[in-house]
Symmetry: C2
Amino acid sequence: MKTSRRKFLSSAVLAGGASALMPLKSCYSENNKGTGYPDYTKLDLARDQPVLKRELFTTPVIIDKLELLRDRENFICRVRSKDGAEGVSIGHPFLGNHGYPMFERSLHRYFIDQDARDLDTMVFNAVEKNIKKQGIPLCIQIATIEFAILDMLGNIAGVPVGKLIGGIHHSEISIYLGTQIWEMRNLEPEESLELLAKDVEETSARAVKLRAGSGDNLGVNNEIVPGRTEKLCKMAREKFGDEMVMMIDGNGTYSPDEAIRLGRFLEEMNFHFYEEPVPWDWYEEQARVGNALSIALAGGDVEFGMHAFRWLIAHDAFDVLMPDTFYFGGMIRSMRVARMAEVAGKVISPHMSGGGLGFLYMLHMVSSCSNAGKYHEFKMFETRDANGTIIPIQSKTEPFSSKDGNVSVPTGSGLGVHIDPAYIKTHKVIYG
Amino acid sequence: MKTSRRKFLSSAVLAGGASALMPLKSCYSENNKGTGYPDYTKLDLARDQPVLKRELFTTPVIIDKLELLRDRENFICRVRSKDGAEGVSIGHPFLGNHGYPMFERSLHRYFIDQDARDLDTMVFNAVEKNIKKQGIPLCIQIATIEFAILDMLGNIAGVPVGKLIGGIHHSEISIYLGTQIWEMRNLEPEESLELLAKDVEETSARAVKLRAGSGDNLGVNNEIVPGRTEKLCKMAREKFGDEMVMMIDGNGTYSPDEAIRLGRFLEEMNFHFYEEPVPWDWYEEQARVGNALSIALAGGDVEFGMHAFRWLIAHDAFDVLMPDTFYFGGMIRSMRVARMAEVAGKVISPHMSGGGLGFLYMLHMVSSCSNAGKYHEFKMFETRDANGTIIPIQSKTEPFSSKDGNVSVPTGSGLGVHIDPAYIKTHKVIYG
């Protein structure tokens, strides 16, 4: 069953050589021998490999300044090395304003005056030494800092961020359309699909994601209108044809039994993957659903725990792992999930929020994953920040656009973009 | 094995009648029938019972004002009803300053203009509708709001908080000494125990908690000095005698194998419970350790997920459940854990941070739990706030003190304390 769940997901993995593909269960023999629990040896080995490619830097890169800038609800992180190299990241477009005091009170100390080549360790400590402050708001601040440091390191080495954390495995990313979340649930199905069709036309995307149920994350089977989910799926298949790749996201609507029932329907409808049918932290239930179905299961978007991903992978709960580069605390940690997924024959497809520079971080992350899924979440090139201002960025190389549903990863150094200095100047340094 | 793990924990539970004591496994038959997973029916029923006793209020209590006050790093929540009743809580003594922007941006809306008699629902929504902001900093803000509203409701009904959420099952709480965390690990064992002996003398406590390992929450068996943990335990038993009840907290130091090895030693040393041997989110490993040992396992102090506690209880990972009233988002949610624990024959013993009004919230919470453990964490009557200022409070009834290791629960209305208005006045309203 696992094999059939995997085979549609990533040709890259299937071509990736036997060792990376060894089924996890073949190594369930050492650590937990005789205990009835999985052996995690191979997952742990994969997770714990160094991520940042230190060998690209021959001398220390001491972090001399690490600043948090603010303009009303929006935040920017700027980092400067002793030698004058700079990096800049834009914070999360609607959640950066929730946990920003943690930048000063619990995070700055783990980065300032350190050698940026030790970024793996700095990120690890920022997460693991702050467990009493744990959660998504903390991870968002860590990610914002990490993105700025990666931008600086890329600028120093003259390479894009993907090359720093895993090498460039993909120069173009195939997208699936993940916008219209509210509309996909609350309008008449005809209207929902009409809006989606406009995005398809604009991007030539070959994959779209629908939304199932009410998305209330309660696991009690609330539908906005009874029967709407199946109706929407059927109409979408009819409207977009058999060639369109379709996925669907339950956002935690269902109980395990109902999730399995709907999953069988989605199998019949030839859906590509089935995301988060049960609430995000119903791990055991998710494993039950995953093991009962042949359709690929996807999830992990609001997860911030490394150990949780390890469990979800080992127990075959998901086939497509979806850490959010912000919510999960950055690209280095997300890469560790990708590597665990890889040795288990699974793929990665990061979640992204709409707005800000989400799509940019997603592109770099995916470019560096050998086991990236076939299609990746995309919410258009909309870059409104937390104040509703469009962030004025330009790719250092070519303009951002989607051709035949593919978006090129910026090849310029660091994050590969030029941000209008006048925009940054509207923000004042509040710490660092 | 489970029976022997339980029997020392709570005479109250053992006297509590057969129905409350029915072993959980006897009901593993309905919901998940034939799936190999536990049946959670009884746990879910217990969890979902109303907590706030609405029947104490015959007319609506509309929340007219809900304010966040700030003096530098310290926060206070003040609530006022349309009829002029007031409640006040003091925020967390060192973490309230991490997530306070969430009070305004994501929480205030769930409480303002609502009928405070619907507090169960308001708290539920504040947690469940904010999953993208989830974590301890969010829960701390929710708890601070809830404590203020409970204070107000208690003032209206003329009853202490415990009566609002479960009735008064205990008017005196037996404490265990949980201070000296750093000292318990980093000094020579002789010196560590000398400091503990001073606290014992001051409080006449009959129970003390030691600390095992490095407490780094990494699960890789780091000890400050090799062999120190066993040495400390032996010396403590010798110093305090066989009558002293002793528990120990690993703070996530150990791998499962090492946790089990140390657990067997603790069984020989007749320890009362063994807290958090493996990292907090190693659920499966915790269950493995719990099921391998006869000593009672305790934990859950940095947990903020209801579903996680449900799993941990059903899988017999812990015998003593330790939600922190702040980190877990308040007393109502903690009561839901207590009730799940009760139907599984387990006990509750809330975690508390030192400083602030932690001990006060702990006392009220424990007073209202029929299945409270025998001993509860206590870090002295120290009430320094986030600025290092001693919070000037007086019990409305009798002074706070420990007699023979017992502390009386305040019997005055609400939280049962009078806070010097001059202290509150040093704080300015920043929202609400």
